[in-house]
Symmetry: C2
């Protein structure tokens, strides 16, 4: 549709007239009142009036309490809100979020609205270009422990990760500006380690340093980090708001990819009755706001998101969206080398395999952990079963990983 943003909700109610509810949303969240307006005024107000697009009611055959719901789609005219995410979200789910059991499950923005969003500056292909890697999933690793450690320790941790052949290393999201490892010094120390590792491995590497501090100073902090050598940023988007990411990603001076961390997302997406779906929260909105890479809980590990939701997040990051670049999906948590074939099966080649414990916890140490993943990625990409690959010479790291964690086929 043109000139409207369409929000789809899932509303639960054992008895409600969902068609009536849909109409009250469409009117209440736009012109406020309709039936009592004089006819002459209706003509003028028509262009502001929300419209019910569809109402699909689902009732369990046994009519069990708590199972009846409806998916309701409402079209909101663009003319009603400014072209920013706070305005859109407040319009479609501001007051309504508090109106009983209701969940925002999708949002189709208009071309007009989307045109205010440049989207990811690099996107999936741009990140691949920076690394010069086009034919396989990327590998990201996370520091093991960061709080309370000094520069020398982080540099050493960084070097060992880099030696293993990872493509990206990210800060832990709980590493804030601190006297032991202040932003610029940390960037310098880590990029020095990156250069040293590259001289040995020949491999490029992106370091996503955590962008933290007061909102109004984030852009300046980003520029400082970049001036110190940072070639990527990590950002806790939901702790700051989508609009802050939008402004950072739109800033021409912030010339490096931004990886969006999902911190706090669990307060919003997991309930079946409330909140915002993962595919919208961590998928479409992150991409619209300009995240080049998006981390989200994998369906494999301890911090779980059901597989179906994972696939919906992936689709939202990769499907056509008003000409915006795609964002790299980074399913995270609980990842070990034995999961790589499954990750490729679920996500395809365009995925970042992201591991913390699965790298540092390798019996041969951190560098061996990275190598095991790279070997798993190469084997899986070539269609070679991991156990078979692990038994060939030079694959000792993979073999040790499989002995430690096994291989999960599905």
């Amino acid at each position: 549709m043109n000139g409207v943003c369409v929000a789809t909700y899932r509303a639960f109610d054992d008895k409600a007239d969902f068609h009536k509810k849909a109409l009250s949303i469409a009117v209440g969240l736009t012109v406020g009142s309709w039936t009592e307006l004089p006819e002459a005024q209706k003509a003028e107000m028509e262009k502001h009036l929300g419209k019910v697009v569809s109402v699909e009611v689902f009732e369990a055959q046994d009519g069990a309490a708590g199972t009846r719901y409806a998916d309701i789609a409402i079209a909101y005219p663009d003319i009603n809100f400014s072209r920013d995410l706070p305005a859109l979200l407040v319009t479609v789910f501001g007051k309504l979020s508090m109106d009983g059991k209701i969940r925002l499950i999708d949002l189709e923005v208009s071309q007009h609205f989307a045109s205010a969003f440049p989207g990811p500056k690099f996107g999936l292909e741009g990140v691949r270009n920076l690394l010069g890697v086009h034919d396989r999933p990327l590998l990201m690793s996370i520091f093991k422990s960061v709080v309370g450690y000094d520069l020398a320790n982080l540099q050493e941790q960084f070097y060992r990760q880099a030696l293993g052949g990872v493509d990206l290393i990210k800060d832990d999201e709980i590493l804030f500006e601190n006297p032991l490892t202040p932003l610029e010094k940390r960037v310098e120390a880590c990029m020095e380690a990156a250069a040293k590792a590259q001289s040995e491995t020949g491999q490029k590497l992106l370091y996503a340093v955590n962008l933290t501090g007061p909102t109004s100073r984030l852009a300046e902090q980003a520029r400082k980090a970049i001036a110190a050598g940072a070639n990527a940023l990590l950002f806790n988007v939901l702790a700051y708001g989508f609009d802050v990411l939008h402004e950072l990603s739109s800033d021409p001076t912030i010339s490096v990819p931004i990886a969006a961390h999902p911190a706090m997302a669990g307060a919003i997406y997991p309930s079946p009755h409330y909140g915002i779906s993962a595919s919208l929260l961590l998928g479409k909105l992150m991409r619209l706001a300009g995240a080049d890479l998006v981390l989200f809980p994998s369906p494999y590990g301890s911090v779980v998101m059901p597989r179906e939701e994972n696939m919906a997040v992936k689709d939202a990051l990769l499907a056509p969206l008003h000409g915006l670049k795609t964002s790299f999906p980074v399913p995270s948590a609980g990842i070990h080398p034995g999961l790589v074939p499954l990750i490729l099966k679920d996500f395809g080649r365009d995925v970042v395999v992201n591991a913390g414990g699965g790298i540092h916890g390798h019996p041969g140490g951190t560098a061996a952990g990275g190598r095991a993943f790279r070997q798993a990625i190469d084997a899986a990409g070539a269609g070679i079963p991991l156990r078979e690959a692990a038994s060939t010479p030079g694959h000792e790291a993979l073999l040790a990983a499989i002995e430690a964690w096994g291989v999960r086929e599905s």
Copy 2:
């Protein structure tokens, strides 16, 4: 406690060893690993290590599935995070929010952390001082319809509200920057109506104009609104992030009270298993971030929050909190004059009675709607039953309201 912020969680699990889980949170979200550290390093890291404060397990006698939970309190050393709300929230509930059925129910910040927060600039008493009203609840009204209306219409709506004797008028939260009623023109038109009404009623009035647009330009927009005559601001805090409110409220040039709107809050507080409790989200965090008035769903109307949660929000806004000013509680939605005695019973005198439909829907019109509320407030404050007050001369507005909506005693 000194030097630590204590987060309390409610975690649901039918089988988990909650003591073990608590320990893994305390270690995992601070130093990352502990038992494998060399003793010499432990001494150095001790000051960064999170501590389990308490674990209380609740089990239903019948052991029904889904009913077993624990309240877990963890102390996080201040030294681990910068003194801003994104850092605190990401530390205590960033990754953890995605780790199963877990909810953040309280947060006790240290004096050291709180000292970075000036809190509400005016607070409850400051708002009373601006209005010169100290002996009764305040009355706030909301525009009936705003989207698609022009300046003349809003000015007329404003005037009719002001004539009824309301103390505060707020924009609808879905009124964004728009060509029909742009911010500065809207402020001028409404403050002109306020002056006109004041010349007739003798009563002061605060107009909370909606602060919207890109995050980096909000402070400038606020200054423009104030220069145009605005004497209060409305702000959709959760659509922008607590830190943005913190920065706005700390800005010495933004010299008017800020009313925090709860838009989007329903995506976060209502689930029993996920999210953040209303008392923390709309209570303590709003106050820490500097909201002078805080709107939240009332327990009376269509947009409901259970009474117990309402009282917890009120307490969080009014209880001692590191010397910060208190924030005015504004329970909203579904309010009509017949509810005023109940509101006073629940909230006491220090409350803002906030109405939309209960004012505009009055049989005698908007101004009569305001008068009915003021009469109800005066009667309830004097301990006179509403029906009795309504039967005395000069209380026709109250009588009509009671005939339309009744009186609810409990």
